[in-house]
């Protein structure tokens, strides 16, 4: 149950996670559907889009909106690898390590990124900009090697191209 001690304070924390109009829109959908749980991924995705990741409070908010318990949301949230239950950098980089990308230099891409960013797979740069995450096939096998930053796809990667992309994102972050 979500009722822990200070209820209204908690609601305040949660409201920071989504805009009121987003919460209201979900509440309306919940009221309309016979099976509110079907909205759980939509909701988690929206919380993640707004906050960069899904915190414990995010799970609790989702549970509250859907009228289920936090563990019921957590069971689902922890299954999917694109729901981040830990903080990630502003640009989570998913490097494809599946067969087609591997066959066309995916490992080099991954190594290069680790060197350039001075982090290992699974880590976040100290400036909080980048997190490196290996991922399975991104559906861009014809444009291997490939990666996805946030939800943006990058294919036919070369080392030079990679450096350019990273530089560009660093610039973007400054501006």
């Amino acid at each position: 149950m979500i009722c822990l001690g200070n209820f209204s304070a908690e609601i305040e924390i949660m409201k920071k996670l989504l805009l009121k109009k987003q919460i209201d829109a979900f509440r309306r959908k919940v009221a309309k559907t016979e099976h509110p749980r079907e909205l759980v991924i939509d909701l988690l995705r929206e919380i993640q889009d707004r906050n960069g990741w899904v915190s414990d409070e995010g799970v609790e908010l989702a549970a509250q909106i859907l009228g289920v318990t936090p563990i019921e949301v957590e069971e689902v949230a922890t299954f999917y690898d694109k729901i981040y239950r830990q903080p990630v950098g502003r640009y989570p980089i998913h490097i494809c390590d599946s067969i087609c990308c591997w066959s066309r230099g995916g490992e080099e891409i991954a190594n290069h990124l680790q060197q350039q960013l001075e982090i290992k797979l699974g880590e976040t740069t100290t400036d909080g900009l980048f997190t490196l995450l290996p991922t399975c096939c991104l559906g861009g096998c014809g444009r291997a090697p490939s990666m996805m930053i946030g939800r943006r796809f990058y294919g036919n990667l070369s080392l030079a191209e990679l450096d350019r992309i990273i530089e560009q994102l660093r610039e973007e972050a400054k501006g």
Partner: protein
């Protein structure tokens, strides 16, 4: 260079998406109009059955036959679910199709739903297909506005409501019952069958799950007729065209719409531009990561379900990944197995604990630390996992392992004897 009649890719222009107006210009929604006005649902099912269309999601089950098992007269709601999880490495055809021409799928969905008398549809889209999801959102809005979706479509009295579901990553969601759990917001472990989705599917109601390409083919079959569709294939038992996604060590790694039954060699040479770096063809995955390898001796084989089954492989999704003669097939197989082990849903033992054990063995041998006992153990693992997992994921994982042990055993032995990777 491609002389095949283009159905699914007829509107495709690289780097562009065509929407409602352009889709209609080339005959879009005519099949739906025709069907709703002149055909009964059972007629559609019969045409699809006669067309010989087989599921494009990998299993290749006859679509018409599957539909004929659907309890069309059961009370509502009944669901039609389109599977666009497409997470099997080497497979990217559905993504290409939706990037180019999303309305085809919408038209196909309405037609299929009409044939099945289903009133609610879902299109399930993987996380990485963000562009495709947005294309579909626009297409759905357009179709609704034009009266092709919603209540009383084209005055036929048929209602169909279509939802889009963006997922959050995981290959197992492609398995149809796991997908249904995912749509319901439950943990997406596969379900025990029976009962099959046609009996108890989404929210416990009759449901049919079909692949994107399968459904996108329906308008073309309605327009062109069963005979025409069947004759598109190059081999006598085949039917229709197929989206072939090329990848790996080829000069050209693109997706082509080609006749079912096209020989492997022709695909590689004429469309893939031959093996890259002037190297030789060593092997390929003919239909995605779960299909056993083909080698140079198979270059003449017609790419279709039955001919491939005869040589111990599978047509799968027709995502063809080619390996040149510099490739270590043991290393490739390890990569594939790591994928499957990581994507296991964690429900059943052979997959959850067996696949990591296989990876451990492959890794050990690849590093040159393997023994003959390890090779024996690897063979045992392949035999014990095949056919004994809860769903077909682990079964699929055994495809490449089977290929490795059957076709490249000597390569494995070389690793053991040399104490290092020979490549």
């Amino acid at each position: 260079m491609n002389s095949t009649p283009q159905l699914l890719f007829k509107n495709r222009v690289a780097g562009q998406t065509i929407f409602f107006k352009d889709y209609c210009k080339t005959g879009g929604y005519q099949a739906l109009t025709k069907a709703l006005k002149t055909m009964s649902p059972t007629e559609i099912v019969d045409v699809v059955k006669a067309s010989g269309l087989r599921g494009r999601g990998g299993a290749g089950f006859s679509t018409g036959l599957k539909w004929s098992f659907f309890p069309a007269d059961a009370p509502r709601p009944k669901y039609l679910v389109c599977n666009c999880d497409e997470m099997e490495p080497g497979t990217y055809k559905d993504g290409e199709l939706l990037a180019a021409d999303p309305h085809q799928l919408i038209e196909g969905m309405v037609l299929s739903a009409y044939a099945l008398n289903a009133d609610v549809g879902y299109i399930f889209i993987r996380y990485a297909y963000d562009q495709q999801l947005r294309n579909l959102q626009q297409a759905v809005a357009e179709a609704k506005k034009a009266g092709y979706l919603g209540k009383n479509i084209l005055g036929s009295g048929f209602d169909f409501e279509l939802h889009l579901h963006g997922s959050a990553g995981r290959y197992i969601l492609g398995e149809e019952t796991a997908l249904l759990n995912g749509l319901e917001g439950k943990r997406p472990n596969p379900r025990l069958k029976p009962p099959f989705p046609a009996v108890r599917g989404l929210f416990g109601r009759p449901t049919t799950v079909n692949n994107v390409e399968t459904i996108a083919n329906i308008p073309h079959i309605i327009n062109g007729g069963a005979e025409w569709f069947k004759d598109l294939a190059r081999n006598p038992e085949g039917a229709g065209t197929k989206l072939f996604g090329l990848s790996g060590h080829l000069n050209c790694t693109e997706c082509f719409e080609l006749p079912v039954g096209i020989p492997l060699g022709e695909l590689i040479e004429d469309y893939g531009g031959g093996v890259w770096k002037k190297r030789k063809f060593k092997a390929c995955l003919p239909g995605g990561a779960s299909t056993p390898y083909l080698t140079a001796e198979h270059l003449d084989i017609a790419l279709d379900f039955d001919p491939l089954a005869k040589v111990g492989s599978r047509f799968g999704t027709a995502g063809v990944t080619v390996f040149d003669d510099h490739s270590c097939m043991l290393r490739a197989t390890l990569n594939l197995l790591q994928f499957f082990a990581r994507e296991s849903c964690g429900w059943c033992t052979p997959c959850r604990d067996g696949l990591p054990l296989v990876c451990w063995l492959l890794e050990k041998i690849e590093k040159g630390e393997g023994t003959n006992e390890d090779l024996e153990m690897l063979k045992q693992q392949q035999q014990q996992i095949t056919g004994r997992s809860f769903c077909a994921l682990a079964e699929g994982a055994m495809g490449p392992l089977d290929g490795l042990l059957r076709l490249f055993e000597q390569e494995v032995i070389d690793h053991i004897q040399k104490g290092e990777c020979p490549f």
